[in-house]
């Protein structure tokens, strides 16, 4: 049985409520594909049966897993490109003007996954900034040990390379390593990767000039979001910049940030005196 309209609408409403992500009509196939493993796990014949079961007797574990399955995208390079454009067009020029010539800028990629975000940042800086490698350091953290190890290795499969990495950047910054691609050594040296649970007290790091905390807050309830934003802010410099995911905001969560429009993107800056 294919997904019924009632099942699909219930899933859409759930995902929207939990993540603010909107599943457009026509995304039935996505729901079918992403939820099939969970249906099979329970011995149910198809996704409709699974959704109907959860709909009639919702339990927090199942609803959380449904939302995660539908909101976790394969990481891509330049994911929602605007926050990266903002980095080179506005943020870096402002920071370079404000800092001394020998001051090292510190950037934090706070949910680095397999490394696409920190290396996207590293490539952009390398291409736009003389002596980027000595001028900027990038801290990449993730909850998952495996993801940290993958970020450190800087190796990507063919399928990962295909996901939004501009071809001119591929040929400039990567070499073939067997059937994978490896990031050039200078870029790997710019990036330091370590484990970090954002929902727990943070390790001593920073102070950071730019923080990318994207598509993380959506997974947490309001009090946790507030705690995370407060702790992140404590690691940031007064004139620093925070980038959140496209569906995320500090508005209505934590009023100690100022939202500023940067090009087609939004950034958040610590409000003075808060």
């Amino acid at each position: 049985m294919t997904l019924t309209a009632t099942s699909f609408d219930w899933v859409r409403a759930l995902v929207h409520k939990e993540s603010a992500i909107v599943l457009q009509p026509g995304k039935e196939y996505l729901v079918e594909a992403r939820l099939l493993p969970m249906a099979r796990e329970r011995g149910l014949p198809d996704v409709s049966h699974f959704v109907e079961t959860v709909r009639h007797r919702p339990d927090p574990d199942s609803t959380r897993r449904i939302v995660e399955a539908l909101t976790t995208n394969e990481t891509s390079w330049f994911r929602d490109g605007d926050p990266f454009t903002a980095l080179t067009s506005t943020v870096m020029p402002a920071l370079l003007a404000a800092r001394g010539p020998n001051e090292r800028l510190q950037i934090w990629s706070a949910a680095c996954s397999s490394g696409q975000e920190p290396y996207t940042i590293a490539m952009l800086l390398q291409d736009s900034l003389p002596n980027a490698t000595s001028r900027v350091s990038i801290t990449a953290t993730d909850l998952s040990r495996e993801m940290v190890a993958r970020t450190r290795a800087g190796r990507f499969s063919q399928l990962e390379i295909n996901r939004g990495l501009p071809a001119p950047m591929l040929v400039r910054h990567f070499t073939r390593a067997g059937n994978e691609w490896e990031v050039a050594a200078p870029l790997r040296r710019m990036v330091t990767a370590s484990e970090c649970n954002l929902a727990a007290p943070l390790p001593r790091m920073g102070p950071f000039d730019v923080v990318y905390l994207r598509n993380v807050l959506i997974y947490f309830d309001l009090p946790t979001k507030q705690t995370i934003l407060r702790r992140v802010r404590e690691l940031m410099r007064p004139d620093s910049w925070l980038f959140l995911g496209a569906a995320e905001t500090t508005l209505g969560v934590d009023d100690s940030w100022e939202r500023v429009v940067v090009g087609r993107s939004s950034a958040y800056r610590p409000l003075k005196g808060k």
Binding site: W77, G81, N162, G164, P166, A167, L170, R176
Partner: protein, 127 residues
Amino acid sequence: MRALVIDDSKVMRRIVAGILEGLGYEVQQAGHGREGLDVLAGGWVPELVCVDWNMPVMDGLQFVSAVRSNPTWRHVTIMMVTSESEHGQIVRALAAGAHEYVIKPFTADAIRDKLALLGLLPQDVVR
């Protein structure tokens, strides 16, 4: 927006064309570079061409060079979609005038990501 898909595999043409049509493109297909040039010369000049590399009669690299040598087609964006995946081959394709490069195997998401980079994603497509 319009796209021309050039591949000697009919199956692959249908897959790429299907993805592009799903994104809102009007698509024509050609089986090799020469056929592709004929489509352009016939006046159907699309915003985007997706072209395979290894094909009979005229390969993708020759097609790219031919399109780039004609100034009336300079606004056509060319994306190679091919299993040729050596570093040097990608460099050659870009040097010949291709804008982007998708390595086979690819997913529909990979095509969409590249179109987003190129600013060629029809506006009404919401992720």
